[in-house]
Symmetry: C2
């Protein structure tokens, strides 16, 4: 299992509508093969800065299967209009969970 971490920047004045748009996109992630979890983090120091964290079985489940699917188009149709810059996306593996 790996975690997609997408850093998303939006207009802080639109935070409520953006969070609702991400919530509305839940089924498009949940129905994507190999997708096992989805959470949204809000950075306290920087209004409008978010991390979308999505659990995938493999990097390719995100970058190939999801991005090549209609689910991705639906997600981008909902959330894309809020982005004030292109998302930065990385994938991470858990090195250790200590406690």
């Amino acid at each position: 299992m790996i975690t997609e971490i997408a850093t998303l920047r939006i207009d802080p004045a639109k935070a409520e509508a953006f969070e609702a748009a991400v919530a509305a996109a839940k089924p498009y992630f949940q129905s994507s093969p190999g997708c096992h979890g989805m959470a949204l983090e809000k950075v306290i120091e920087t209004p409008g800065l978010y991390h979308l964290r999505v659990l995938w079985e493999t990097v390719e489940a995100h970058t190939v299967t999801f991005r090549g699917s209609d689910n991705f188009q639906q997600w981008r149709a909902l959330a894309g209009p809020f982005f004030v810059s292109p998302p930065d996306v990385v994938h991470a593996e858990t090195a250790a969970t200590f406690f």
Copy 2:
């Protein structure tokens, strides 16, 4: 509960020793008041790039209590020598956990 996210950059050749140093620092976090979890993520695309994620009851439990304590000095003595640039630290709150 909030999450400290520290972005740490090290020499990839020293990854094994760095991960051992973070593991050795576990008790200094675990014994700090208001600290409730600690995990290390490794970014797949960039060798040597890590996210240390630490759960705190409040931002101040990290920035005031922990950073003002001997526990912080012990952590930095273990991990600091590996850093190739100063850590970037933000704090995040969970906006939503969708599934």
